[in-house]
Every structure is written in structure tokens, then in C-alpha cells.
């Protein structure tokens, strides 16, 4: 049985709005004229940081500053950040059909 409260991890770059009974509706992304920055995200709290960064690539989010708490977060972000970047590049190519 699927838990409807648990959000699935979608392997694409679409934005989705949650509907009833575990359904999702795709939302059109804004068509902006230039890149955007996210100056405060908690990448390591995301279910798949590399996929999240790949979506940034597709949608023109060119700068992301991720937050680390010295007590709670340990060294995960420091250890994994470079890997997330490489993994996200591969995922972004998949999202836009380059691979």
C-alpha cells in the first residue's frame, strides 16, 4: 500500500502541485529572462540533492547557497557537495534529452 503522505521523488524537472488522494498536477514554470539565485537552501535535507540541483540547471537557478548547522548536520554537505554537482550534471542532461 502506498502512503499518500509520502511524496514520491520524480525523476524529471517538472514542478508539481499536490492534489487529493496522492495525485499531483504539473505546474508550468515561469519563463524568466535571466538566471536566479537561491541564497538559502538546506540541500542535505532534501530526498535527492543532486536531482534538486539538476532541476536548478534546467530552470536557470545558477547560484545556490546551502546551509549547514554545526550541531545537527555533520560533514555530509562538505563530503558530498562535489559529488552532488557531478551527479546533477548527469541528471540535467537526462532531463533535457542530451543523453
Amino acid at each position: 500500500m502506498v502512503d499518500e503522505r509520502q511524496e514520491p521523488v520524480f525523476d524529471d524537472a517538472l514542478f508539481r502541485q499536490k492534489r487529493k488522494h496522492g495525485k499531483y498536477r504539473v505546474v508550468d514554470a515561469p519563463k524568466l529572462e535571466g538566471p536566479v539565485a537561491d541564497t538559502h537552501a538546506h540541500l542535505q535535507l532534501l530526498p535527492d540533492p543532486a536531482l534538486a540541483l539538476a532541476r536548478c540547471t534546467v530552470h536557470g537557478v545558477e547560484f545556490v547557497c546551502t546551509i549547514v548547522d554545526v550541531l545537527e548536520d555533520g560533514s555530509t554537505t562538505f563530503d558530498r557537495l562535489n559529488s552532488w554537482k557531478f551527479e546533477s550534471a548527469a541528471a540535467a542532461k537526462r532531463f533535457v534529452g542530451w543523453t
Binding site: F15, K18, V27, E33, V36, A37, H40, P47, V61, C65
Partner: protein, 210 residues
Amino acid sequence: MGCHPHNARYYDDGLEAELRRLLADPRVAALGEIGLDYHYDFSPRDDQRAAFRRQLRLAKECGLPVALHLREAHDEALAIMRDEGFPEAGTLLHCFNLDWPALEPWIAEGCYVAFGGALTFKASEGTREAAARVPANRLLTETDAPYMAPEPMRGTSCGPAHVVFTAERLAEVRGCEPGEERAAFLEQLMQNARGLLDRSATDWQKEARL
């Protein structure tokens, strides 16, 4: 990189030593999120004030800007900042969701303010009015992902890419029409973000790595 006010009760010399070690990584661009959270009060307020002051001094020693988390404590935080002195490298108010009277004194001190998903919420008219009044060179966008997904995805898990919805709404609030006007506005926002956070290693970071 910092100690959140929720965790201030654990801030001691040992935790500060670990914080110093991690701040030395040249990828660290700011000290934060730090501040006061009197909504949840997960740490005693005296502990929050002490950790906040110690980290402000540390930020100045390291030459890094600070990213502030403030909840139901803006007035007291401002008094502490004025008492300690604002870091030369900059001060960023993260996830601002109040109105202009609450924001104005921070802007007068030269702080940056970051707007996230809350800017898009139906009931956030006061926040949008504040966003409209901030000087363009002090405006930033953020998500606070995985929290605070903007409309129309509110209630779902937020990712950093969702910031495009907030940027679109912010441009609308500022009266920037799609096209050249909005392009110039987005360029300004990116300049603000990179100017504050896309920084070279500070002298302190270089020396700490030797």
C-alpha cells in the same frame, strides 16, 4: 555554516572549535543561520543570546557575512547587532515574512533581505508591501528548501529550483514588467547574491588552512 538558535543550548567552547574548523573551508561563504527564535524557544533565551553574540564576534573575526534567522525577536536582535556592531562583510535577513515597519531599521543599517515562499502566500500582503520598498541593491531571493514551497506548490516539499516562482512574484510586486525591465531586475538580484555570497576565501580562511 553556523549554529541555529534552536541548538544554542549546546553552544560551548567545544562546539565553537568545531565551527571554527568548518568555517575554514573556503567554500563557506557566510556564518549562519544564527539569531534568535522566540517562537519555538527550543533553547533558553539566555543561551540564544549568548550563542548569537559569540557567533557575531566570530563572523567579524573570520571576515564573513552573517545570515540571520529571527522569529518574534527582531527588535532584540537589532539591539544586539547594534551593540556588537554589524559585520563589515554584510548581514542577511533570511526568510523575511513581516512588514515594512519591522524591516525598515534593518535596511537603514545596510542589511540585505531575502524573500522566500512566504512572499507568494495569499495572506502576505504586508510582506509584499515591504518587498516593494526595499532598495533594489539589498534584495535577495531564497527558498529555505525543503520548507516553505511557494504558491502554487505550497504544502509540497520545496527544492531550490522553486525559487523561480518567488523571483517571478517579487518582480511583479516591484512592478517590473516581463521583458527588458524584468531582465534588468533579475540581473540586479543575481549581482546582489553573488556580491554577498559568491566570495573568495577570506584572509582568516586562508590562514586557518595553512
